[in-house]
Structure formats: structure tokens, C-alpha cells
Symmetry: C2
Subunit: 194 residues, 2 copies
Amino acid sequence: MYDILFNHLEKKVTLSAEEQEIVKDHFTPRILKKRKLLLQEGYVCKYLTFVTKGLLKAYTLDGKGTEHINQFTPEGWWTSDMYSFFSGQPANYTIDALEDSELLTLTVEDFEQLTLKVPLMDRYFRMLFQNSVIAWERRLVHAHMLTAEEKYRQLLENNPNLVNRVPQHLLASYLGLTAATISRLKKNMLSDPR
Amino acid sequence: MYDILFNHLEKKVTLSAEEQEIVKDHFTPRILKKRKLLLQEGYVCKYLTFVTKGLLKAYTLDGKGTEHINQFTPEGWWTSDMYSFFSGQPANYTIDALEDSELLTLTVEDFEQLTLKVPLMDRYFRMLFQNSVIAWERRLVHAHMLTAEEKYRQLLENNPNLVNRVPQHLLASYLGLTAATISRLKKNMLSDPR
DNA sequence: CGCGGGTTTGATGATGCTCAAGCCCGGTGG
DNA sequence: CCACCGGGCTTGAGCATCATCAAACCCGCG
């Protein structure tokens, strides 16, 4: 299960065999069954998590108990409540599994040690976070300037995989819409599929 | 003008005198007068920019020519179209000056060289981007779950400084609202200031 | 004094939400 | 093999929030 992690690392940095060993030593494998929580809002986020198999979602609840999903994390991606993880403050998000999943986790101590022992990991995470910033920035701009239909079309184009793996009311939540709206959009789009 | 940069760096990493020299050598100082562009949408973003004085804004235009501001950058912060800067693709944002400003800029080559010569800079940027991700993530969640009034209140609380420095129709754009809406909110909030 | 940018205000309207009902379908147990 | 259950999807009626558009106003500055 480390293969997928190392593949991922190698896209950004080249580690020696030794460094790879060190990296490996810092991760802890974990299993997370469908519907189980990795993190609960209000508790400190203990892990920076790389998903090697399965699918997680991260979300907040608003005053009325409605779920607002901010991230889906399939295999090959990272998840965490970064604010909580790095600051030690209570988390704003809950993270749970949509499918039976396998994870590789780092505690904040693991993370600190790892970046100190293998400075290239700072470079790796620099690039990782750099891409994250770009993605979040784009999502916010889209949230502000696209119509519901445009948001949905973008999702279909850019994440066709997700669309097939996730129930539509969750996609709606991810886009800041409701299930009812998505449903109506689909109906309209039948007559003008582009 | 480098003082403010080094202060900023020192909050995250400790550089030797030598390293400081190298860092200094890679930056180019620049002046940007009010209303002048640092970057225009459609062109490649050449600089990663640290603002030492003044205030910039970054925005996109939608189909109708309306400005959607995604970032204000006062002194002590970084700005760029990160996607364009790192990929060499045309920028999605325009960046211009709201006040006469002074900048320290890095080209992408400067940036590459700098991180290779001073690995601690990878660590610095890792931390910088890490905080960025947290901030953008929070902004998106807020965009999705707060009402107009809540968004505006948050801004007043968290960025009182900005509010005094920037005309309100620009704040509105930053929040994904319109000037008219903000104006009405203010009126309502007089009766219930909290 | 007049100009220009910014703000306020009103009238109107659209977009997407809410709530509730009905439906579809796959899985489970009798 | 059928009945039922539950989750998800669809649909309708009504509604809230915020946008749009246009006019008036305010004020600092040349």
C-alpha cells in the first residue's frame, strides 16, 4: 500500500532508498470502514492522512444540521483538517468514509520529524500545498461567479469519476447547492446537453 | 524595504547571514503606482510578489465585465496568479494597485534557484502555502454556508483594517456580494449591532 | 463650481431554497 | 418469490435572499 504513496512522491521529488525508508517509518497504516469517522468536529485533528484505497469526505454542519462538504478524498490524495492538525485547536470539520478505505497517517510529531530528517519532504509538501492553494482559489472564484448549472457542468467535466462514485445529494452539498436543484438542472440539461 | 520581508521569513525559519544574502540577491524591487497593473488576465504571470508597502487587489472579470475580487494584498503578504506562475499558462486573474505600492518580486527562475540553493526556503514556502490552504478552505466554506450579513460581519471582525482602506463596493466583490447589498446590510445592522 | 467616484435607496425580478409528497430501485427477510 | 424497507432521486408550490437597474445623493478635489 506504500506504492501509491511513493508514486505520488516521485512525481514531485526524488528520494534515495534511505530516505524512502525514513519516510516509510513515519507513516502508520490504518483501516477505515464505510461510515466510520476519521475525525470529528470539535476534537483535535491528530492525523495528516494519505488515502491509498477508498473514498472519504470532509464536511461541517451548519446551525440547522445540514452537511456542507468541502472535500472528497479518493485514493492518491491527502486529507486532514489542516488548521486543527497544525495548530492543535479543535477541528472545524468531520471526516468519514464513503467506502471501506485504507489510509497512511502521520501525526504532527511524525510530520515534524520527517520534514527535519528529510528536507526534501518540505519541498514535496510545498508543492503539494501550492497545488492545493491553486485548487481552492479556483473553487472560491467559481463559487462566486458561476451559476448553479455552470458549477454542475464543471464538476461533470473535471471530476467525472466522482460523479459516478458519490450520491448526488453529496455532490450538491460539495457545490453549495441542494439535491433538488441538481435534479432540476439535470432535467433542463437533457434538452441542451452541449 | 527588505526588513519587512526578513521579519516575515524569520517567523517561520531561521536563516544564516549567508543565506539571507542569497535570498536578497534573488529578489527584484519594483514600484507599482496606484491603478497600474502588475498582471493582466490572459498573460503569463511572471512574478511571485511580496508587498512591502501599499495594497494590491487580484480579480477576474465574468462574462458581463463585473469584477470578482479574490484577494487583497497589503504590505507583508504575497500575491501572484499561482497557477499561471508555476505552470506558465495564461493567467486567470488581473492584479493591480489600490495604493502606490512597493514590491519585491521573484521570477519563476529566481524561485527555482532560491529553493535549490536554500532548502529552508522550501520549508518557508511550505508553511506559507499551508496557511494559505487553511485560509482559502475557510473562505470557501463560509461562502457556502454564511448569509450575506454573516459574511460581512466576519469581515468586519477579522479584517477591520481592510474595511477602512478599501471602498465598500470592492469589499462587496470580495465577499461575492454587491455594493447595494452591503449598503442595505449596514442599515439593518444599525438597529442590531451585536 | 463642477466633476467623478462612491454610496444609498427604491422597484422589480431571478435564482435557487424549503418543505413535503411521491417514486424508484436494490437489498433483505419472511 | 414476493413484500417491504430505506436511501436516494424527482417534482411541485411557495418563498427568501440577494441581484439588477436606475436614479439621486454625497463629498472631496481640482
